[in-house]
Symmetry: C2
């Protein structure tokens, strides 16, 4: 996806900042124009509607995330790949908390005009986790077709812990958060791994 | 928390159903009155504002969830307690998917009138997970104060996998979903548990 620049960039950044504060539904085209410092004519010239802006913002964010995840796990296998994915996702959440908040709030909305686009991008990001998990877990997990659910679990755990950290405990050093999320999956919760 | 009944019950159920379809911000008092089959005068007699309705809906839901979690882990320890908590949370999500969707979308909003109430209830639900984790993990995790983040991870994993299941794969039997989420935490992702 080509980098969005110029007026479109100003509009994307303003829309994202507003949605992180008050939600997508609570953000109007007028708000976006004022925050971006862009005339209303110019705003509508670039985007026909608020839906088009947020479709763009979320698609751009998810595409960048997928690319970062893919590159992070390249050459790694098993637990090392999962570690790299969790670390990268936490890094991205810390680097753009507004985007993470808006995505977390939007991920299960089924009434959005951009729903199909959003589901497709979500699927691509989750597929990076699924690929690493498929390699790490015994074949019977793959056979039951539950790799996708395990990918959602790892993604959801990282997203929730990451937002918890940035919203409620922003002073905690990032490596502690990475370690805590990884500890959840490492097996230490289950001291008798025979019982699964 | 006393069971909400009568007109208030009709209003809560209508508000929740609408918010699951179109978000809290997209739901108006007029919509709620129509969906509940309640006159506007009666609606405002019971709740001064939309904020008051959703504060009530979310508080009731979180209180019931916390009670269910607490009762599920009573008498259990370690991994068995975590299994019971994950199973119970998935059960609640399946039993009231509308509530789970609205909670998932609202959990990191920082602009809500009911924010303090919502944070307090969220904290109570997470504390049930934290208590079980504290018992299950080696002391160094507790010492670093990361039990809360691990609780968020387990909660976030279960919430995301549960919504993924109910929205995208509703035909999958519940035991498979429980097994997939538990497999994520069981240690099978990390075949060499020495490397943590």
């Amino acid at each position: 996806m080509a980098q969005v620049t110029g007026t479109k960039r100003l509009i994307f950044d303003a829309a994202l900042a507003l949605a992180a504060e008050r939600g997508i539904s609570g953000t109007t085209m007028d708000d976006v124009a004022v925050r971006a410092g862009v005339a209303k004519g110019s705003l509508y010239y670039n985007f026909a509607s608020k839906d088009k802006i947020f479709e763009g913002v979320l698609s751009e964010g998810m595409a960048a995330l997928t690319e970062a995840l893919r590159s992070a796990r390249t050459g790694l296998h098993g637990w090392a790949a999962i570690e790299a994915l969790v670390t990268t996702l936490l890094c991205r959440i810390a680097g753009n908390t507004a985007l993470a908040k808006v995505m977390a709030g939007d991920i299960f909305r089924t009434d959005r005009a951009w729903q199909e686009t959003s589901f497709a991008f979500r699927h691509q990001a989750l597929a990076e986790f699924a690929a690493a998990i498929e390699e790490a877990v015994p074949t019977e997990a793959g056979a039951a077709g539950v790799t996708g659910l395990m990918a959602s679990s790892v993604f959801g755990a990282t997203l929730m812990a990451g937002l918890e950290w940035l919203i409620f405990e922003p002073d905690r050093p990032q490596p502690e958060v990475v370690a805590a999320v990884l500890a959840t999956f490492s097996g230490r919760l289950n001291p008798t791994p025979g019982i699964r």
